[in-house]
């Protein structure tokens, strides 16, 4: 069956649109440079697919602060204009968008809110093009620890796997001592974050309590729907405790499936990513007594500033903040402080100002956070572990991590990994 098409209009309008967009693409730099009163900041992130919440909550946390900064005069007198694009979670798209934001849209700074693999891709673009690049979400430690990746113009201002593992290992060891938990298992997603974080946790657990034994490990694929075989494998080995860095939807469906196997009545569960409001509020039958690290919790640090920020976010967006929300908000705080200190928005000057900068922050372990000068990474943020309950405040008691201990062990780890 053959229709004879009368699509002249469609074809013409389609070609016109194509021509117009190409012209737009060619003309944009000239338009961009005409607006010096405004500073364009680009943000590649993930707004679709499985991890869409990463991008949407990053954007929310960021924009809440951008509006305040603009109302107070902007960065060194220049109003911030954010251009946020979706890489769909593909690293080559992230690289392309990063290039386009700088070359095509006239952005001067990039806040890279990509997940780990996208962050590495954007990092290479930063190496090529030399703009100020702040990674706001990537938790893979090697991004800042590996000297081969170090750039004068790149920073990582968010939490790191190694810090979480040190604190987690120390906390888990103390619980293991108190409850006699000698046989451990791990169930973590089979990708770089999952493997590295789990390995680091086990290393530090053994460091603080050398006589524990790992009796089984399971590595489901990221976003795997069915955990039957991994649950069975772990149950077979009869561990007394289990660590997992599963997160988000994976963690909740794992808990749902573990529940019907009565898994959590047989072992103590240490899930570093449990204390995240989305996970806590989505699981309908949360087992009592899951141990978790902190992602974002309104009551930790237990300061009025932190609670106020959490409430403000909730009333503005109708949902709880995530780990990604506070990290991006903190980046804007640092940027604003650096612009004031350098009295400029020029990339190199801002980078100098950021190096070693300490600011007051509701997310700091003791009211402040610092950018470590030697490797351009964030330290002194609130970090700790506690036990979760299914209702507010969700994590009533948090044992805070000791930053002195973290710094010592981290530098040992760097030497052992050949990074120092």
């Amino acid at each position: 069956m053959h229709r004879s098409p009368t699509f002249h209009l469609d074809r013409r309008s389609f070609l016109t649109t194509a021509a117009a967009s190409v012209t737009g693409v060619i003309a944009s730099p000239w338009i961009a440079r005409a607006q010096a009163k405004v500073i364009k900041i680009g943000m590649p992130t993930i707004l679709s697919g499985r991890v869409a919440q990463l991008g949407s909550s990053s954007r929310n946390g960021l924009m809440m602060e951008v509006e305040k900064i603009n109302a107070a005069g902007g960065l060194a007198g220049r109003q911030i204009e954010m251009i946020i694009r979706d890489s769909k979670g593909q690293p080559q798209e992230a690289a392309r968008i990063a290039r386009e934001l700088i070359n095509g849209d006239g952005c001067e700074i990039l806040l890279d809110a990509e997940a780990s693999s996208g962050a590495f891709a954007v990092h290479e673009v930063a190496r090529d093009l030399g703009f100020l690049c702040i990674h706001t979400n990537s938790e893979t430690s090697s991004l800042s620890a590996d000297p081969k990746l170090r750039l004068a113009n790149a920073f990582r201002l968010c939490r790191q796997g190694i810090h979480d593992s040190i604190v987690g290992g120390s906390y888990a060891a103390s619980i293991a001592n108190a409850k006699g938990l000698m046989k451990w298992a791990t169930t973590s997603p089979d990708y770089a974050y999952g493997r590295d974080t789990t390995q680091q946790f086990v290393t530090y657990l053994k460091h603080f309590k050398p006589d524990i034994e790992i009796v089984s490990d399971a590595w489901p694929k990221l976003f795997a729907p069915d955990y039957t075989e991994v649950i069975t494998k772990i149950q077979q080995a009869k561990p007394q405790a289990m660590y997992s860095c599963l997160w988000g939807g994976d963690l909740t469906s794992y808990i749902d499936q573990g529940n019907i196997y009565a898994l959590f009545s047989q072992l103590q569960f240490f899930a570093v990513n449990m204390a995240d409001y989305t996970a806590l509020t989505k699981v309908k039958n949360l087992p009592k007594g899951i141990y978790s690290g902190n992602r974002y919790i309104k009551t930790f640090p237990a300061t009025p500033q932190n609670a106020a920020w959490g409430d403000e976010y909730r009333s503005k967006y109708g949902e709880y903040p995530t780990n990604w929300s506070w990290q991006n908000a903190a980046v804007m705080h640092f940027l604003a402080a650096a612009a004031t200190k350098a009295n400029s928005t020029e990339g190199a000057k801002l980078a100098d100002a950021l190096r070693g900068l300490t600011i007051e922050s509701p997310f700091g372990a003791n009211g402040t956070m610092t950018i470590r000068a030697e490797d351009h990474t964030l330290i002194d943020y609130a970090i700790g572990w506690g036990t979760t309950i299914p209702t507010e405040p969700y994590v009533p008691d948090v044992k805070t991590g000791d930053w002195k201990q973290i710094a010592e062990l981290e530098s040992e780890w760097k030497k052992q990994s050949g990074y120092a």
Binding site: R50, Q53, D190, Q257, Y261, K282
Partner: protein, 300 residues
């Protein structure tokens, strides 16, 4: 590679039983999801690349119905009806235009449907993942059957799956509708010449395939996290199962699914990081040795 744990397990009856049970559970869940795909290919010769999207729709329909009525039973029935309706409309408006054409056209039309519906779901239900929770009925402790662990909810799913397999098999073999459908698959011209409305028939078959996929989504929803795009993971596995079992064969899909379940269960012991690769290797072997699959008709 952890060959030692694998061999150690194969030498222990208790371990074999436990892992075989879990393999069976995985397989039957897989079959439930894949059977709609093989049915559509067997009758309509269409590779339904939008299969995963129907699964997703079924899960989301069920979620919403439970939110409003608190009844899991209503949710299952509603989701099945909903996805059947979507399937019928999709077939009449879009699939009917690509019958007999290049398989790439079918791929593209189905894929366009997937893209559109993933975003529609995102617009309607949001991009955050959702969780349905286990119905009270199944919240008790699991059963221990001869050393294997079977959660109550999975027992329910197994029974439903086997019932569906039996019903489909019998209906296709014995009922008038089933025979007509099979005849139409072989010689549509003749069936139409006998005065039977083949277009309506095709629509019904596709609706049934959509229904089965949506039903699978609704049945699995209590133990899954729902996100837009959740159809992709089941799509690939459904293809592997139907290719191995034989496109168009319900028994083949059952056998293929159980084989995959066993590979995953025992494979996670011996090859924890390469279980996927094992499945693809198996798929390649089948395709090379008998392309039409274990129970498919031989290539003419």
């Amino acid at each position: 590679m952890d060959i030692d744990p694998l061999i150690g397990c194969l030498l222990s009856t208790a371990c074999i039983v436990t892992h075989a049970t879990s393999g069976l559970i995985i397989g039957l869940l897989l079959f439930l999801v894949a059977v709609g795909l093989t049915l559509i290919f067997g009758v309509l010769k269409i590779v339904n690349f939008a299969h995963g999207a129907f699964y997703m729709l079924g899960a989301y329909f069920a979620l919403t119905i439970v939110q409003f009525t608190d009844s899991y039973l209503l949710a299952i029935l509603g989701a099945a009806a909903g996805t059947a309706a979507v399937g019928l409309v999709f077939e009449r408006l879009f699939i009917s235009q690509v019958y007999g054409r290049n398989v790439l056209m079918q791929l593209l039309v189905c894929y366009a449907f997937v893209l559109i519906f993933d975003d529609l779901v995102r617009i309607i239900w949001g991009s955050e993942f959702r969780s349905m929770g286990m119905p009270e009925l199944f919240q008790g402790p699991p059963f221990f059957v001869a050393g294997g662990v079977v959660p109550q909810f999975y027992l329910f799913l197994i029974v439903v799956t086997l019932a569906i397999a039996a019903a489909l098999g019998l209906a296709l073999a014995r009922s008038w509708l089933g025979k007509t459908v099979r005849a139409a698959a072989i010689n549509p011209g003749m069936v139409s010449a006998l005065g039977i409305n083949t277009e309506l028939l095709y629509g019904l078959v596709f609706a049934l395939g959509g229904l089965l996929a949506g039903l699978a989504g609704a049945l699995a929803a209590p133990v899954r996290s729902l996100t837009p795009g959740m159809g992709f993971s089941v799509l690939i596995e459904s293809f592997i199962v139907t290719v191995i079992g034989g496109m168009g064969s319900i028994l083949g899909a059952l056998v293929g699914a159980i084989l995959i379940g066993l590979i995953r269960s025992f494979g996670s012991l011996g090859f924890p990081l390469f279980t996927d690769g094992l499945m693809y290797l198996f798929m390649i072997v089948i395709l090379v040795v008998k392309p039409t699959g274990l129970f498919g008709k031989p290539v003419t």
